[in-house]
């Protein structure tokens, strides 16, 4: 039961470190690496352009991937699936296209304090450019969101609500469906950052009633450089293009252009078809393993680490006490040891974790931290790797000059 498919991830066999930075980027299985290479070896031509068989084939590979994504997140139609580079680009697309065209001076945009900078800065930009007000949903000390407070923050002026389904610092899942319902009652749309949820749980954008949902390929075992934006068709249809140029037009004259149909209207320029093929393979891989199994493994590893860490008096874990509310993410501090030094010492013991503000400075400030360390598990990690983290933490303070 340990090492499910671990052997299928070449990097894990090629390096000796315990890779516990999966929330930053996952490792890729051989089938993903093969799918990307296979595209260039056998199907490469510019998709959506040429009329010759090879280009038709390339288009087929690309559009098959779109269908796989549609099925993976439960969208109604492939017209609602836009390929981007990553979550950041997906969120910027919504901000520049929907945000700038719909938000007016005096309106409000409501974001959570837990957001990754990539789901905060685009909204700061929209508010600065339009004269709208940016408001924050603040979490409780344990990271929980009080929905009564959220409801009070929503007004008739609220046009956009932006929230991560899972926090990249706390690992906590937020009640997106309930917040969507409240937002819709006020006539606002909800933009969901799914970067940290998509690798760990089955997502159904229709059940969540998300208006927009963004995620990255590289966190869900796919290639870097391919991401997804889901948007409800009715919204996407009325939105102006984000980028303009090739491949997103129907016809162009000296004076203007008519744009292509969805989803191509939002995919200007030559697309990352090989990346899409790799993502397709990654999603199939995840489905083959199944989220039940993924969840079971990640919870077992998170529980093992958290229980041991809780017995160390100088370690403090951010967020919930319940490992089931961490989605594989354990963010922590060690008294008297700066997170960069924690990371440095763990690295010398062959453990790779993240240290810093995790692109969520407002959240850390809200919780009273400036910098933290974060270990994040994937299903392919092992108990031995969790123990290596724990063993290293046990001697950490001593090695930093504190008595036993």
């Amino acid at each position: 039961m340990t090492n499910i498919l671990r052997k299928d991830f070449p990097l894990l066999g090629n390096v000796s470190i315990a890779y516990l930075d999966n929330a930053a980027t996952a490792q890729r299985p051989q089938c993903v690496i093969d799918a990307e290479a296979e595209f260039y070896r056998k199907h490469n031509a510019n998709p959506l352009r040429g009329l010759y068989p090879l280009s038709v084939e390339a288009t087929g590979v690309y559009e098959d991937a779109r269908e796989a994504v549609r099925a993976f997140i439960g969208a109604k139609s492939t017209e609602e699936i836009i390929f981007t580079r990553n979550t950041t680009e997906s969120l910027n697309l919504v901000a520049y296209s929907y945000g700038l065209s719909r938000v007016k001076a005096g309106d409000e945009v409501l974001v959570s304090i837990m957001e990754h900078h990539s789901d905060l800065l685009p909204w700061q930009m929209v508010c600065k450019q339009t004269g709208a007000q940016l408001k924050f949903m603040e979490c409780e000390p344990d990271g929980r969101l009080d929905l009564k407070k959220v409801e009070q923050l929503l007004t008739d002026k609220t046009k956009i609500v932006a929230i991560a389904q899972v926090s990249n610092v706390l690992g906590r899942e937020y009640p997106v469906r309930e917040i969507a319902e409240m937002a819709h009652k006020k006539g606002a749309v909800i933009v969901v950052d799914g970067a940290q949820s998509t690798p760990h749980m089955a997502v159904d954008v229709q059940a969540l009633d998300a208006d927009f949902f963004a995620f990255s390929g590289h966190k869900v075992y796919g290639p870097m450089g391919i991401g997804v934006l889901y948007g409800k068709k009715a919204l996407l249809e009325t939105m102006p293009p984000f980028l303009t140029g090739g491949e997103m037009i129907e016809s162009v004259t000296r004076e203007g252009a008519t744009y292509a149909e969805l989803p191509h209207k939002f995919e200007a320029g030559t697309v990352n078809a090989a990346g899409a093929a790799g993502l397709h393979a990654a999603l199939e891989c995840v489905q083959r393993i199944g989220f039940d199994k993924i969840h079971e493994r990640e919870l077992a590893l998170t529980t093992r680490a958290m229980e041991a860490m809780r017995r160390m008096e100088h370690i403090h874990i951010l967020g919930s006490d319940d490992p089931a509310e961490h989605t594989g993410i354990v963010t922590f501090t060690v008294d008297g040891v700066h997170p960069h030094d924690i990371s440095e010492i763990l690295a010398s013991d062959g453990v790779a974790i993240r240290a810093g503000h995790h692109c969520a400075q407002p959240l850390l400030k809200h919780l009273g931290f400036s910098s933290t360390a974060r270990a994040s598990f994937a299903f392919y990690n092992t108990e031995e790797e969790a123990d290596r983290l724990i063993d290293s933490l046990k001697t950490l303070r001593e090695r930093m000059g504190y008595g036993k």
Binding site: D341, H357, R399, M400, G401
Partner: protein, 146 residues
């Protein structure tokens, strides 16, 4: 376990029990030094007597390397002339870049405890934060070029 030797006693001692990490109310020069990517943040405070650094201290927070390096630096530069302090800074930078001779490294006394940073590119900016801030504090006109 190379870090057992890297985070040596000199470094951890200056980090945990810094001698110069305190306020300096009558400082002539106060300058903030920041490493934005990792959050190291210090305020270097200096009191000059003509060309001599008569007193100095720092406050702030950051990793052990940045804090210990700043503390060690202050211990070395107090009572020294400005140009002597700047010369030490240059030698320190050479050491961090792996270009200093053994003799030069010896001349850095306690700061030589940080010589292994030369093999740790990700931590170079932590080690030089204090020295970089010192240079900017003493030669503000050169800041734009550096």
């Amino acid at each position: 376990m190379e870090n057992r030797s890297f985070y040596n006693e000199i470094l951890t001692e200056h980090n945990i029990h810094p001698e110069f990490k305190h306020d300096l109310a009558d400082a002539d020069i106060v300058l903030e030094g920041v490493n934005p990517s990792c959050g190291d943040d210090i305020f270097l405070k200096l009191k000059l007597d003509g060309d001599v650094i008569a007193d100095g201290a720092f406050v702030g927070d950051g990793c052990a390397i940045s804090q210990a390096s700043a503390d060690i630096m202050l211990g070395m530069i107090l009572g020294k002339k400005k140009e002597e302090a700047l010369k030490m800074g240059e030698t320190f930078l050479k050491m961090i870049q792996g270009e200093a001779t053994e003799e030069e490294i010896d001349s850095l006394e306690e700061a030589s405890a940080l010589r292994d940073i030369a093999h740790m590119p990700a931590r170079v900016k932590c080690a030089v934060l204090g020295w970089r801030t010192l240079k900017e504090a003493l030669c503000p006109e050169e800041k734009a070029q550096s």
